[in-house]
Amino acid sequence: MVTRFSDPFEALLNIQHALDRSRFSDWPGRSTSSHGSYPLVNVFQLGEDLVVTAEIPGVRKEDLDISIQRNQLRISGKKSIDYGENISIHRQERSAGTFDRTFNLPLEIESDGVKAELQDGVLSLFLPRAEKDKARSIRIN
């Protein structure tokens, strides 16, 4: 995406519009069952389906738990760091701990068709739209 601030008033107007949208849109929804902000997610559209990605470096596959119910997606797990004993630390920027995040998706998901992939610390979830949620074209007799 290219963002240029050629006209300051236009930029201001765009911010105003974005603010308005965030107030009136109910998606991704603030009503989470567990309030966590980690991990950050990106949501993409692929045809009629959704793809959700998240960067979770250092989280092992077996420490990750993903569940989906209708349009609610929950990503939880833990990230552990173990460097062994007798070390002197020079610099510490990574953090370890548990996470639990739930959010609502804008459409109903066919939970049987969900595919999850964890590669190079990036989680990708392929979420197919439920058949009954899809738009149907009606033939006129």
Binding site: P28, L40, F44, I56, H90, Q92, D100, D120, G121
Partner: protein
């Protein structure tokens, strides 16, 4: 639960350099832990999305530099609906204070975490100086 620490999200830090990169695009500073044990200096970096073949590690004039390129190709077919984080290449360098055995450096990547082991040279043992 034994580990009660709840993970917080960290804003990705964008790289600030004096020289410009030849490749346009965002570069981020990977979160890094550095520690020392008896044999080696260990550098651990988080570079999610970087394939092992796209990692470039260099030691020159006591400067360790790591670069990781991410592939944008996977995102080509996707159109973003809602975004919370941005993606970009990773780049960071450190000046090494210890004497490092450059031949013995080992690296591995696991779940987006790069671990570099830089063994200390044997012929430069710590010297204890007695005060007369």
């Amino acid at each position: 639960m034994t580990d009660s620490n709840v993970l917080d999200t960290l804003e990705k830090r964008e790289l600030e350099t004096e020289q410009e990169k030849t490749v346009p695009g965002k570069h981020y500073v990977p979160y890094t832990d550095i520690f020392e044990n008896e044999e080696a200096l260990v550098v651990v970096m988080e570079i999610p999305g970087v394939d092992r073949s796209d990692t470039n590690i260099n030691v020159e004039n006591n400067i360790l530099s790591v670069e990781g390129k991410i592939s944008h190709a996977t995102y080509d077919a996707l159109s973003p609906v809602y975004t919370e984080y941005n993606i970009g290449h990773y780049s960071r360098s450190f000046t090494l204070s210890n004497e490092i055995d450059q031949e013995g450096i080992t690296a591995r990547i696991e779940d987006g975490v790069l671990t570099l082991e830089l063994p200390k040279t044997k012929d430069a043992p710590p010297r204890r100086i007695e005060i007369a």
